[in-house]
């Protein structure tokens, strides 16, 4: 995925009735990409790029950066190409083990994230975000409204899996800024092989 090509990707926007935004949440667990600042701490990224406030960050009990659990949000640095996964508190001993800074963090010391970058290279890049469980509803609407990059294949799977009720609840759809009929979006053949698309979803819920 090349940030220089981003302007050439198809851009789809949807305005949906409030509850329908939850239909997009399962895309978040697979991972979506955003264009964002890099070279900043995870804490700063959560605040400024994801829009998480202090209370929300407290509820983000497990933070996984490039496959490794993070204990210190201030020292771990987001880079171009980073994969960041976020989870609320999880059950079980392993759930407790994966909590940041928890009593049982030593249980997974072999895979814990340790920042190796001595100097932060500030810039812009693409970061993949995965949002799990209760955080999907908490962080999802704002992130989706801001816009995410997903593969056209993922969007095709999403679109073909939706019922007519969903499409009837789509108030406005645009492709590259031009209005599009829901039927045209359901016929996804034109998207096949397009690589990446930029998707923005807004709803009453997100706007509130």
């Amino acid at each position: 995925m090349d940030i220089d090509n981003i302007e050439s990707w198809p851009s789809i926007t949807l305005e949906v009735e409030g509850p329908l935004v939850s239909h997009f949440f399962l895309l978040l667990q697979q991972g979506v990409t955003i264009r964002s600042r890099t070279g900043c701490s995870v804490a700063s990224f959560l605040r400024e790029e994801i829009g998480a406030d202090i209370e929300t960050i407290k509820r983000i009990q497990s933070v996984i950066l490039d496959g490794s659990p993070v204990d210190d949000l201030e020292s771990a640095v987001i880079k171009d190409g980073s994969v960041l996964a976020l989870s609320a508190a999880m059950p079980g001993l392993v759930g407790a083990t994966l909590r940041r800074g928890g009593t049982y963090s030593s249980f997974r010391s072999g895979i814990t994230y340790h920042e190796t970058q001595e100097e932060c290279v500030r810039g812009e890049g693409l970061v993949q975000i995965k949002i799990f469980n209760l955080l999907m509803a908490e962080l999802g609407p704002r992130l989706l409204q801001k816009g995410v990059i997903i593969s056209s294949e993922d969007f095709i799977r999403f679109a073909t899996g939706q019922s007519q009720d969903f499409w009837q609840g789509c108030r406005r759809i645009t492709l590259d800024g031009k209005p599009l009929d829901a039927g045209e979006l359901q016929d996804t053949a034109w998207l096949s092989g397009k690589g990446q698309i930029f998707l923005s979803v807004s709803s009453d819920k997100a706007r509130a």
């Binding site: 667990q29 059950p91 009593t103 030593s106 249980f107 469980n133 209760l134």
Partner: protein, 590 residues
């Protein structure tokens, strides 16, 4: 709950029952009761399927009371799978009902002299045992339907499926849930085979009493057990429930998604054993995650938020419907979805749900069965990802074909039969859904638990609350051994109360909730139990269990993970299990 029901299945003239006082077992419940009776009365060198072994079924100390979360029930005996002592516990209705009927335990002893199959009926009037060979080889769902037709809808059942009758080492003991479905299982260690060896197919419990003396008077369930100090008990229960409901895990995460909420995060950290423990990530994880599962259930009119017994406020269970909206099985748990899913390379939730149903119906441990299928796939019996072949293997077990007999004996036996080196077992029992190379601390518990590889053995409470063994420096390597020790002690104690282990999350984080738990026990029994007392109980239980295993021939050599965990690097982190043997040997030094 002041008596023990002993049923001698080998008595001259047929099974003989006796109801005896608690005696030396007073004050014990759940795992403490099962392990105390087994360690005291079962010869450690006996054959698990022989007359000398005993099957002990014991509700927890607070079962049958108004206390929330008190519906766990323990089953104990010498395990046909591990050859050591075993306690497996389950949710469902029978714990509450058995306790209200006044029994602190049922002990099945001896062995029938013929091949008759028995059913046991227990109500307020006593115990009836009768031969019923029409039940032979009935799967659990059909069996329960038959009991319902015979005894009515207010019963609950403890039963075995065909796997238990065939005395397979992966056989479970099933317990019915609130809807009278056999969906809850004491799964681990093959205790269903011990029940099968006693010739008991089903124990039917009925705690109804008729209110009024006129014909047609309504049947109602017996009253809850009465605490010594009802006011303090009520107050403690309120604080306990408030604590559970206010905690993020017990109040939100588990009710919304169930235990399968763990799939995504375990996969993300690379600790999700995939393709028979070959790698830590599964490409299809998001297709079988708790989030996807809950959405699927809602879309099909099923319920992702449901308790496994009355009095449950966490509601981590649920129901799973097929594509046509018909009930297929209860919501498959994380361990089941992993065992039949990622571990076998299968990412079809409907097929996994079908396997969950078949396991419940035939009475097979889902973890052992899934791990066994993965070993069989490694042996070339099927390709990883072939869900239909996996389903067929479970049918082979249920039918008792020659292949099914091997598979039903568990992963270790299947590995031997087919010459597979990568067999993820400890003490003969298959590992659950967390790779010990990625999460090394849990590997310490897998290796050293008297139960064999068990994810719940070191699950519970709060070293920082209990202060077991003093303050632990979790940053030192030896901290993993110390934490595992403390967790095993705490878990043994919680298992003895009959409380659901999931209370541990709230107790872990909220000392007030832990105090409420102590207050529940103290106000009910008029005791003065403290955190130290809980610790002592846990140590006592583990000591009994370790002593039994030592006499059964276990040495330090059994407290080890398979060698390949030390040498095969586990992707994506390329880690091996690094805790030294001499450190493992220190786990039970207290």
């Amino acid at each position: 709950m002041d008596k023990i029901l002993r049923i001698d299945m080998g008595a001259d003239g047929g099974p003989k029952t006796s109801s005896v006082p608690l005696g030396q077992y007073a004050g014990f419940g759940g795992r403490a009761m099962t392990s105390a009776i087994v360690s005291k009365e079962v010869p450690p060198l006996c054959h698990p399927l022989g007359a000398e072994n005993k099957l002990v079924i014991a509700p927890g100390l607070l079962s049958g009371t108004a206390s929330a979360m008190s519906g766990r029930i323990s089953v104990g005996g010498k395990s046909p799978l591990t050859g050591g002592i075993k306690e497996a516990n389950s949710g469902g209705q029978p714990s509450q009902v058995l306790a209200r009927l006044g029994y602190a335990a049922i002990v099945l002893e001896g062995k029938p002299k013929n091949n008759d199959l028995y059913k046991v009926f227990i109500n307020k009037d006593g115990v009836k045992i009768s031969v019923d060979n029409s039940l032979k080889m009935l799967p659990n769902y059909d069996l329960v339907a038959k009991m319902k037709a015979e005894y009515g809808e207010k019963i609950c059942c403890i039963s075995i499926g065909p796997a238990g009758e065939m005395k397979m080492a992966s056989a479970t003991v099933a317990f019915t849930d609130m809807e009278l479905r056999p969906t809850r299982h004491a799964g681990r260690g093959g205790l269903g085979a011990v029940m099968g060896s006693k010739g008991v197919k089903v124990i039917v419990l009925d705690d109804t009493i008729v209110r009024g003396s006129t014909p047609g008077s309504p049947a109602v369930t017996m009253q809850m057990r009465v605490p010594k100090d009802p006011e303090k008990f009520k107050d403690a229960n309120k604080r306990f429930v408030d604590g559970l409901k206010s905690h993020a895990v017990t109040g939100q995460g588990l009710p919304a998604y169930g235990t399968n909420v763990l799939t995504n995060i375990l996969n993300e950290v690379g600790g999700y054993p995939t393709y028979n423990f070959k790698q830590g990530r599964f490409d299809g994880a998001s297709k079988i995650s708790g989030e996807t599962q809950a959405e699927t259930e809602k879309t099909r009119g099923a319920n992702p938020t449901h308790g496994c017994h009355r009095g449950c406020v966490i509601q981590c269970s649920g129901t799973y419907n097929d594509k046509d909206g018909h009930y297929l099985t209860k919501q498959p748990e994380y361990e089941t979805v992993w065992a039949h899913g990622g571990n076998c390379g299968i990412s079809d939730l409907d097929k996994i749900a079908m396997m969950d149903f078949l396991d419940d119906n035939y009475g097979i441990d889902t973890i052992e069965m899934g791990a066994t299928i993965a070993v069989a796939m490694d042996a070339g019996l099927a390709k990883f990802g072939d869900a239909d072949a996996a389903i067929q293997m479970i049918h082979e077990v249920g039918k008792g074909t020659h292949l099914g007999r091997i598979l039903g004996s568990g992963a270790a036996v299947t590995g031997k039969a087919y010459g597979v080196e990568r067999v993820p077992v400890v003490k003969g029992q298959a590992m659950p859904a967390y790779d010990p190379r990625a999460v090394q601390g849990i590997g310490v518990t897998y290796a050293t638990s008297p139960m064999g590889a068990d994810h719940t053995a070191g699950y519970a409470v709060a070293q920082n609350v209990l202060k077991v063994g003093g303050d632990v420096n979790a940053l030192k390597p030896e901290g993993q051994v110390e934490l595992s020790r403390n967790l095993q002690i705490a878990t043994a104690a919680i298992d003895s109360t009959g409380m659901c282990l999931f209370i541990a999350f709230a107790v872990l984080d909220q000392p007030d909730t832990f105090q409420a738990l102590l207050d529940l026990l103290n106000s009910f029994y008029g005791m003065n139990l403290t955190a130290d007392g809980v610790t002592d109980l846990g140590k006592k239980v583990l000591t009994m269990e370790r002593d039994f295993n030592a006499k059964a021939g276990f040495t330090a050599a059994q407290d080890r993970l398979p060698e390949y965990f030390k040498s095969e690097k586990f992707a994506p982190h390329n880690v091996t299990f690094g805790v030294k043997d001499e450190d493992l040997d220190k786990v039970f030094n207290w």
